[in-house]
Symmetry: C2
DNA sequence: AGGCTATTTATACACTTGCACAACAACGCC
DNA sequence: GGCGTTGTTGTGCAAGTGTATAAATAGCCT
């Protein structure tokens, strides 16, 4: 009767990844409260005890899951800036477009982000992780902005540059949220179009083919 | 030994408010997971059983707490638009300023917002509540934008107006997040100044040369 | 003052939680 | 093939969870 469950031994890295993915899935679906070791283990296709074999405790698993999430998000976002042979302005537009379409616009990722970041006020570790991610992102923006303005023969000072980066960052973040939470209210590409126009207005760039007054 | 704890009978409305406030405090501090009936009751200065006397269950208390939070947030935000005797442009600037300073820029409120909104993907009730709040907010923005542009003798069509409202909403939301999460990185009034400039750029308004703060 | 009643406390209960640990079995190595 | 290592399971446990319910008492009405 007492037939023990069959199992396969997986590589350590694979198991850890599976557990982290299962954690993110659980958090996205039921929130931090619903992400119990048993739920997570079930989703990963193992039993609860195994978690403690790979992580010192549940809290550590959550930490690593959040780190993995952040890393994936920023990685995808920055990838859009990698185009070498484009003009600064094109690269900026591509950056905005990439951030306002799938897979970065995604309800599940947003749920995860919101759930974790909600604890940043109480958890200093989390707060610092966010701070660093945010500054890194803003720095990328500032670099491109500098290039765009340089290509237009404009010499902004540091404060001006910083303000532009903050504003553009806000535009992208704000539209990202709107898209994640109410994506079906926008036609495909609409958010990106709004974002590009707003960013170019912020930088005082002439609209390319403007019928807009 | 078995001295029963002294207590005072409070009015129903008062007790419900206290319990809701205690709930929001608990959620802000320890997240949804840490907001147990006992924690909440302790904070409200009562014992756990009393919660069930005022609310059918814990879930209902959380629902009402979220509703109360949203109501306070939108109420404060809209109040800034109430100035009757100002020009549309001044009212828009005041709106932006109000949304980018205390008490709307507040880490605790942000934590609450993020914690609750993180469950919008899974909880349709929550998602609808947010949707309505968001559309109401955007509508307010759209109305002021229409007035501002009208005062400048411009006649935007509906689509243009909608895009402006979406963009401005994004600017405010994005800067709100930055301010809540990293408020000490900005000097007082800086976010508001950035916001006003970005909004005016989005609308194509000539920058005022002067002492706006 | 003395009851009446609804508010409030206190206790109980079934269930879930994270974690500890012993038994087991999959897989590499000889 | 047998064997040892260790990844994996299953069970147990104390603490904590939401809820149910009985007992107590504060405050109003007369």
């Amino acid at each position: 009767m007492n037939a023990r469950r069959k199992f396969r031994r997986e590589g350590e890295e694979r198991r850890r990844q599976d557990l982290i993915d299962a954690t993110l899935d659980s958090v996205a679906e039921h929130g931090l409260e619903g992400a119990t070791v048993r739920t997570i283990a079930l989703r990963a296709g193992v039993t609860a005890g195994l978690i403690r074999h790979y992580f010192p405790g549940k809290e550590d698993l959550l930490q690593e899951a959040y780190a993995a999430l952040m890393s994936r998000m920023t990685e995808q976002a920055k990838a859009a800036l990698a185009m070498e042979d484009a003009s600064p302005r094109q690269r900026l537009a591509a950056f905005v477009t990439a951030n306002l379409n799938a897979p970065i616009i995604d309800q599940r990722v947003f749920s995860l982000w919101a759930t974790f970041i909600g604890r940043a006020g109480a958890d200093p570790t989390l707060a610092r992780a966010h701070r660093e991610g945010y500054l890194g992102f803003r720095n990328e923006v500032e670099t491109v902005v500098a290039e765009v303005l340089a290509a237009e023969q404009r010499k902004p000072d540091a404060a001006e540059l910083r303000h532009h980066a903050i504003a553009i960052n806000a535009i992208i973040d704000g539209l990202w949220i709107e898209g994640c939470l109410a994506g079906e209210m926008f036609s495909p590409g609409e958010l990106a179009a709004i974002g590009i126009k707003a960013v170019e207005a912020e930088l005082g760039l002439a609209q390319e083919r403007g019928e807009d007054q």
